[in-house]
């Protein structure tokens, strides 16, 4: 009894202190332990990736034939690979690529998909039909297949991988944003903005987009997990990041011949992928709950 009442007090205090929408969402997210742990894990991973050169015990491309295929030991915490390179250092540097590609391809998809979706939802009619039908065509092709095709068509490289994965994600964001725009467009404050003489660009950028951030953020968090998996898959197929640059997927691809004899070479990059995706998914779920205005407190 006393416990619930103190909880209520806290909530009431929080609302009375003049907080905005995001502060309320943050308040709700803080109560979700899984999401907070995931957020901490992700922040740690980003920091490690940024300071990879300082954190990693060896240079990622330092070969040492004498120490090839070592299992975890004091010198090499996660062992070494077939060229005697330190797996921990390679995972740390690989995280850079994975997180960068995951993040940038989603940003790419949000900007392009967001623009198309917003135009489509706002202008409706013929514009809507043309944009959304092309999105449907893109969507009809499985995302992975599309990414593989695009990656194969371009030269392999970081930028092209980002674009290949991003393009496959564009229709998803176009849909999410279009549907939010349609809901928001019908509200009176959009009409009010029109009545004070706001231009279409202003209405879209200032009134519509900020109000459909919640579904975009949730979709982006979940989409990033998918993008990281895609870049791993592309690299595994040899279409993504080229050696000697370490990348989690290409590290896995590298192990194929030695999988039965030296499984540790596959386990650790695999774990890195798994933990990142797991954290992103749990954070995405948490954000979805926290940003849903119907679930106040």
């Amino acid at each position: 009894m006393s416990r619930t009442s103190s909880k209520h007090k806290k909530t009431a205090k929080n609302q009375a202190s003049g907080t905005g929408y995001w502060a309320n969402a943050w308040f709700r997210l803080k109560k979700n332990k899984g999401a907070m742990i995931s957020l901490a894990v992700l922040i740690l991973m980003v920091l490690i990736a940024i300071f990879a050169d300082i954190v990693s015990p060896y240079p990622y491309d330092l070969q040492n034939a004498d120490h090839a295929f070592q299992t975890p030991s004091k010198q090499h915490l996660l062992g070494t690979d077939n060229f005697g390179r330190d797996i921990l250092s390679r995972i740390i540097h690989g995280g850079r690529i994975s997180l960068l590609v995951g993040f940038s391809s989603i940003i790419f998809a949000i900007i392009l998909g967001g623009l198309l979706g917003a135009l489509s939802g706002y202008y409706a009619g013929a514009v809507d039909n043309i944009i959304m039908r092309s999105m449907d065509i893109l969507m009809a092709i499985p995302g992975m297949l599309l990414a593989i095709t695009l990656a194969a068509a371009f030269e392999p490289g970081l930028n092209n991988v980002i674009i290949a994965i991003g393009v496959a994600e564009v229709p998803i964001y176009a849909r999410v944003i279009r549907s939010s725009v349609l809901t928001i467009k019908g509200q009176e404050f959009i009409e009010a903005a029109e009545s004070i003489g706001a231009s279409d660009a202003r209405i879209i950028l200032r009134h519509i987009i900020p109000n459909c951030m919640a579904p975009i953020i949730v979709q982006a968090t979940l989409g990033m997990a998918g993008a990281i998996l895609s870049v791993a898959a592309l690299s595994f197929l040899g279409l993504g990041i080229q050696p000697p640059t370490p990348e989690w997927g290409s590290m896995l691809a590298n192990v194929r011949q030695h999988l039965t004899t030296y499984p540790h070479m596959a386990v650790f990059p695999g774990l890195a992928i798994m933990i990142t995706i797991f954290a992103l998914n749990i954070l995405g779920d948490g954000l979805r709950d926290a940003l849903d205005p119907r679930l106040k407190n």
């Binding site: 929408y21 509200q187 009176e188 009409e191 009545s195 004070i196 706001a198």
Partner: protein, 335 residues
């Protein structure tokens, strides 16, 4: 006093898959500067569409709107932007008419920003925002609050401040108090009347609440299915109505006194469909006095008395509804 707005044969149709909706169908009226035109009618009769068409949020299908001597039926983009400074709107729902992501200050500032008032000088604009907040009775400390932190009355004050930000001459009020508690309704109505006196504003006041419309309007239009069925000075309507719909409407005003005998005119049936209506009296199917002619011809709005117009074939025959109580009790208590 001069006529500020004149509307001639205004029509607004919407095309839908099941036919054309005649939301506003041949409406004529004029408003003098500094006066209030009250528009009453039931839900779906086209009153909001009328208001939105007049201030050019919607493009009329046909007809002319003359504002301050200028035809504004099909303005260019530049003309429209100039027009926005003159004509503003106060919206019905104070919960959805404010952007939830903008603070009170940002909301009131935005019109000034768009029209570059005070030569785009931010400090002068901010000062103007605070002055406007004083004018509408919002505490200055609320400037950085978000709408969801405020109650309905305060939110509606924000809406009023936003409408006043451009210093307009003409404001369409689309049921501005129907979403508010009765006690707050009176405050907001008084505020609007004070503003009208102070700034010589002209209002179109759309509502379904007769006591509100009587309190605030100089002239009342009664609308039914996109048409004006009766129009007269507001005092007159409560004494003498010529259209059976107005009679039924007035008989529905609740009178909070036990033991008062009152004759209610109960309308039967549903409002007929506004989709492709037949050229007959639109009220005929529900009218207690309908005669064969009502199903043959469409009545036009004609003058029945000085300043009193009605659109009914039988206006001379039907008996006006007499209120069972002194008419001046139908009023919201002033302050």
């Amino acid at each position: 006093m001069s006529t500020l707005l004149e509307v001639r044969d205004l029509k607004k149709y919407f095309k839908t898959p099941s036919g054309t909706v005649h939301a506003v169908d041949g409406v004529n009226f004029s408003i003098e500067e500094g006066k209030t035109l009250g528009v009453v009618g039931e839900s779906g009769c086209g009153k909001s569409t009328l208001g939105r068409t007049v201030i050019r949020l919607l493009q009329p299908t046909a007809g002319t709107i003359i504002y301050d001597g200028r035809d504004i039926s099909s303005p260019s983009k530049e003309e429209l932007k100039v027009l926005r400074r003159e004509m503003q709107m106060i919206f019905q729902d104070p919960f959805s008419s404010l952007n939830p992501r903008m603070t009170v200050k940002d909301t009131i500032l935005e019109p000034m920003e768009i029209h570059r008032l005070y030569d785009g000088d931010r400090t002068k604009q901010s000062e103007a925002v605070l002055n406007l907040m004083d004018t509408v009775g919002l505490a200055r400390r609320l400037a950085n609050s978000y709408p969801h932190e405020l109650d309905g009355g305060r939110r509606q004050r924000i809406g009023i401040a936003r409408a006043l930000a451009l210093d307009p001459r003409f404001i369409v009020c689309d049921e501005p108090v129907s979403a508010l508690d009765v006690s707050i309704q009176a405050q907001i109505l008084n505020l609007m009347q004070d503003l009208q006196e102070e700034k010589n504003l002209t209002y179109i006041f759309i509502t379904h609440d007769l006591s509100v419309v009587k309190h605030i309007s100089d002239i009342i239009c009664v609308m039914y299915l996109g048409q004006i069925v009766e129009m007269c000075p507001s005092k007159t309507l409560f004494k003498q109505q010529y259209h059976p719909y107005s009679q039924a409407l007035l008989s529905a005003i609740p009178y909070p006194k036990v033991g008062v005998k009152r004759k209610r005119i109960l309308l039967r049936g549903e409002i007929s469909s506004p989709i492709d209506p037949k050229p007959i009296c639109r009220f005929a199917t529900r009218c207690p006095h309908a005669k064969p002619i009502c199903f043959k011809e469409e009545p036009t709005l004609v003058r029945v008395e000085d300043q009193h117009y009605a659109a009914c074939h039988l206006q001379k025959e039907s008996q006006p509804y007499e209120l069972p109580f002194p008419e001046d009790t139908v009023e919201i208590e002033n302050k």
